[in-house]
């Protein structure tokens, strides 16, 4: 081949490769028919797996003439990153991670379903000590920058200490249970099901849990705001399927037990284990409750705590100059932060449709 030809084909190849890595969001704003949302294993999100496998998702998607794939991702953070990168139209995540990862990364995100809040699913565990104040000066092992870290900060705050008074050591969640068996770990903060496994050990004492900051660690199904605007059917189908699943799983019928058993097995436990996880998860089975929760001013206060925490740890957007950098919108037009950079929206309108039987 002539050098010029080689150069030309190399250039063509380069362009192709570059376009391959180019954004997939182009399709977001358009009217589309097929969608993908992702979820990961967690007590409050298990219904998503059941919704997909039981055919509920297809049923509701068909009703609105679209198709929706609900995909399970094994790694929680990776699922959020995939959503943020534009691979998925929606994903399950906590309020805190929704603010720091997609919203902080400029992906305008709407909290479509407020599924539950942690009511004891996250806790601080000390070995052989039963007072939270004993944590002062200790090495605290936790997944840094996760809701565990947030819980620790809030707990320390309540007893007049701050993060400076402890030494945070990052541990991966996959290794936390094994790490707890070592002499080095005297204090840890984690979530269920790891928390209940650790608490079975005789020397483990839970000294603080998320029920002491109720409603602050919220589990959501979020969707890309642009996609939702262009395709309201996606919102309707997801919300419709979710609340039908809620009414089935909360019922004391055979169908309800079957659904819970399926979720228990998918979560790697049994019905009793799963039900005990649900006891520390404040599920909003009734859409009206979720709507009320989302409209409450306390949510604004919670998100203010969360953004202050994120800002203090430098994870609120690239070089965010202040906690106001990323704007948030709440029901009734209230906002927090920069109104010109609103990236996280709590919108109860779809849940309201479910509550009023309009889906």
């Amino acid at each position: 081949m002539q050098p010029i030809k080689i150069a030309a084909s190399a250039f063509a190849l380069t362009l192709t490769a570059a376009l391959g890595a180019a954004p997939v969001q182009d399709a977001r704003a358009q009217d589309r028919e097929s969608f993908q949302v992702c979820w990961s294993i967690y007590a409050g999100w298990m219904p998503w797996g059941w919704i997909e496998s039981s055919g509920l998702m297809d049923k509701w998607a068909d009703k609105y003439d679209i198709s929706v794939d609900v995909v399970q991702i094994n790694d929680y953070i990776e699922s959020i990153n995939q959503y943020t990168a534009g691979r998925f139209d929606g994903c399950t995540m906590t309020n805190m991670d929704a603010l720091s990862i997609p919203a902080g990364g400029g992906v305008d995100t709407t909290a479509l379903i407020v599924g539950d809040f942690s009511n004891g699913n996250d806790g601080i565990v000390l070995k052989n000590k039963d007072e939270l104040s004993a944590i002062e000066g200790m090495d605290v092992h936790l997944v840094e920058l996760s809701v565990s870290h947030y819980l620790l900060a809030r707990a320390l705050d309540q007893i007049g200490l701050s993060e400076r008074d402890v030494n945070v050591v990052n541990v991966s969640d996959a290794d936390l249970v094994a790490a707890f068996d070592t002499e080095d770990v005297q204090a840890t903060v984690t979530w269920n099901p790891l928390l209940s496994t650790i608490l079975k050990k005789p020397e483990a004492n839970e000294v603080f849990d998320s029920s002491q900051i109720p409603g602050e660690i919220i589990d959501l199904m979020v969707v890309n705001t642009e996609t939702l605007r262009a395709n309201p059917e996606l919102g309707k189908a997801l919300v419709g399927a979710w609340y039908e699943a809620m009414s089935i799983m909360s019922s004391d019928t055979q169908a309800g037990r079957d659904a819970r058993t399926w979720m228990a097995e998918a979560a790697g436990t049994d019905l009793r284990g799963y039900e005990s996880q649900l006891e520390t998860t404040q599920m909003f089975y009734d859409p009206a409750e979720a709507v009320e929760f989302t409209r409450d001013d306390k949510l604004i206060q919670t998100m203010d705590f969360v953004r202050q925490f994120l800002f203090k740890h430098g994870i609120l957007g690239q070089g965010a100059p202040s906690p106001d950098y990323v704007g948030m919108q709440f029901p009734g037009g209230e906002t927090l932060g920069n109104t010109n950079n609103i990236q996280l929206r709590f919108d109860p309108s779809y849940m309201k449709m479910a509550a009023e039987g309009e889906l």
Partner: protein, 273 residues
């Protein structure tokens, strides 16, 4: 002229060597540009300027919380771990490898075990490492040693076994005892292969270092990468990856040059990578 006989000039060689790097950089810039046109705050493919800003923040600005330079702190912590780990592995490989290669009884005892042990993926036995070594520095160094020492040992053992019999017969006729043969024949003969083993061992060593730091740490290059992954800060991750690559490359070259200068006899004519 046949293709295998066409040798590029010195300048052309450098230019050709730079070509793949330039191509990757170009592809990256175009893709990053496209994503930023879509979303100016995109984090997946940060622009080169954003990465430069992140490096400035991580390496040249004291951290707001601790007043330290994060990237240097991370680098020192990681280099210390990998340095101690490789030192332990090297000593183990030299002692065990020569013993196994030179002394048939030790070979019979240890060779099958080391062979089997080298096949265990170290990550799978992490909980055991935790119980034995705790969660601190020792466990991280142990993971590097477990991951690199067995293979390095086998390389050295093989190098020892490869020492020509004629040579051994010759020194024995000259009256050398076993210890003298080890120190005067085996050690010098296996040194080039040992350096080769270190260079090869550094590849998994970096992998295990990063894995170990992901599990439990307060600083380190791998720790930082896994930490900032929690908010998709690719502007920090990519420079860190480049930095790791540069350090690994420099270390590899340093060992190569050490071998080339120090052990000239082992480097005959012919190209070496």
């Amino acid at each position: 002229m046949r293709l295998i006989n066409q040798k590029p000039s010195r300048i052309a060689r450098y230019a050709l060597g730079a070509l793949p790097f330039a191509a990757v950089l170009l592809i990256y810039s175009v893709a990053s540009k496209l994503r930023h046109m879509e979303n100016p705050q995109d984090r997946l493919l940060p622009s080169l300027q954003q990465m430069a800003a992140a490096v400035e923040r991580m390496a040249f600005t004291p951290s707001k919380r601790t007043g330290e330079y994060t990237m240097w702190l991370d680098t020192l912590a990681s280099l210390e771990r990998i340095g101690i780990g490789m030192l332990v592995s090297t000593v183990l490989a030299l002692v065990l490898g020569i013993a196994m290669g030179a002394i048939p009884r030790i070979r019979a005892t240890l060779a099958p075990f080391v062979g089997a042990f080298s096949l265990i993926p170290p990550i799978t036995v992490l909980p055991i490492l935790f119980i034995v070594f705790g969660l601190g520095e020792t466990a991280k160094i142990a993971l590097i040693v477990v991951g690199t020492a067995p293979v390095m040992t086998r390389t050295v053992a093989q190098a020892t076994a490869d020492v020509p019999d004629e040579l051994l017969v010759k020194v024995q006729t000259l009256g050398a005892n076993s210890w003298q043969i080890v120190t005067r024949v085996f050690v010098p003969m296996v040194l080039p292969r040992l350096i080769g083993a270190i260079r090869m061992g550094l590849v998994p060593a970096w992998i295990f270092l990063v894995s170990a730091e992901a599990i439990a740490a307060e600083q380190g290059l791998g720790y930082r990468i896994f930490l900032v992954r929690r908010y998709l800060a690719m502007d920090v991750i990519l420079p860190y990856v480049a930095w790791i690559t540069i350090i690994a490359y420099v270390l590899d070259r340093a060992f190569y040059l050490l071998s080339r200068k120090g052990l000239r006899w082992a480097h005959g004519e012919g190209g070496a990578l």
